[in-house]
Subunit: 233 residues, 2 copies
């Protein structure tokens, strides 16, 4: 299973590290490979720059968005929400056609500081915008409702907790389900919430998530739907 990841930040890095550990082939896509590799300054969270990270994770391939789209059987969107559609535009519609795109990004707007608001919500969503802008792709909104460390390893949060799948294509959701199994997600905790318009609800849960993170002073929690009936797959 070859995975292309768009985004060099902590979310993209976390997925790339874990997938490599799990024996998968990974390419991270970025606007400019050389520029990304020369980033050595720590980021706002005091994490090492991407160049430093890649020295320790040199099994992870790097490529342009275009190259990464060509490489991946599945593409994970791990960009900042505002960078998601521009990254896909750089990849190009042709190379993305028919690809399963797992959108884990969130339309967070930090322009007025913390906490962020959403730059699209209520009657539209980022997931829908992506599907509309790239109608030949198979977008699945997934994993955006939790921290990256929980996304790639659900066992770090105790007990049962949920991951949601929203998308228009049943086959793409099955492939996403198989991808989630790689990380250790069980079907009983994977909830299919229907078509891509479910992105509205999945993205609008973020303000509560952000509030909980502030109150708890940790991002190591996740939403669980208690009483959810078993879904047939």
């Amino acid at each position: 299973m070859k995975i292309g990841i768009f985004g060099t930040g902590v979310v993209g890095q976390t997925h790339a590290e874990r997938l490599t550990e799990l024996g998968k082939e990974v390419m991270i896509g970025t606007r400019n490979v050389q520029e990304s590799l020369t980033r050595h300054q720590p980021d706002n969270f005091k994490r090492p720059g991407f160049g430093e990270w890649h020295k320790k994770n040199n099994k992870v391939r790097l490529g342009t968005y275009f190259e990464t789209a060509a490489f991946g059987e599945i593409i994970i969107l791990a960009t900042n929400g505002s960078g998601t559609i521009p990254a896909l535009q750089l990849a190009g519609k042709e190379g993305l056609s028919g690809k399963v795109i797992i959108d884990i990004s969130n339309p967070l707007d930090f322009s007025k500081g913390f906490p962020p608001s959403l730059f699209v919500c209520n009657t539209d969503s980022l997931g829908e915008q992506i599907q509309r802008e790239f109608p030949e792709t198979l977008v699945v909104k997934c994993l955006n409702t939790m921290n990256a460390f929980v996304q790639v390893n659900p066992a770090v949060v105790p007990g049962d907790h949920s991951v949601f799948l929203g998308g228009n294509d049943a086959g793409a959701k099955l492939k996403t389900r198989a991808f989630l199994h790689v990380y250790g997600w069980n079907d009983k905790n994977i909830i299919d919430v229907g078509d891509i318009t479910a992105s509205r609800g999945l993205e609008q849960i973020l303000p509560l998530w952000v509030r909980l993170m502030s109150v708890f002073k940790t991002p190591m929690f996740n939403f669980h739907v208690a009483g959810a009936p078993t879904q047939t797959i």
Copy 2:
């Protein structure tokens, strides 16, 4: 503990029935008591009209919003979201001054059909609007994230699941906590999410709740925060 409930719909009825069963004194507030009592036609969900309901639940007092505000030590807002502020305006600022107001309403807009959108969200919320419009009240956003039958009896959903408290006044949140204990909520599942601006997140979880209800074909589920640290009270 005397409870005033604003709203004669299924949510208000459910709270009134349960509180009466639990030995509490309850008054339901409405715009026009006589008009409410003459409602005998079933509603859209084929529930009997309020007049029929009250014949079977005649321990529940009825009053105007003004009388109900005077009666209740705690006021529960169980109106439709769009009716919440108008009902409070009819009760009047003077009678509401200093009261603990538990806002369980949601800013759902059904004007374009199902699923509803939100008539306020993102950078403001109904809970905040109420607190701003009635600055002398102590608003606590609570219980709006689940079905009324779960609100009044958490044991109907198996396992642990969460109820959130958001409000500016610590004393009002303590009283709300005591009120939740009456229904059987345990402190370990009551999550204090800070001030009333938390209403944004709590109300914006509704689109996902509505979607889950549509997918599951039942409202008997609830969100749980797995991994939530224990809070000191």
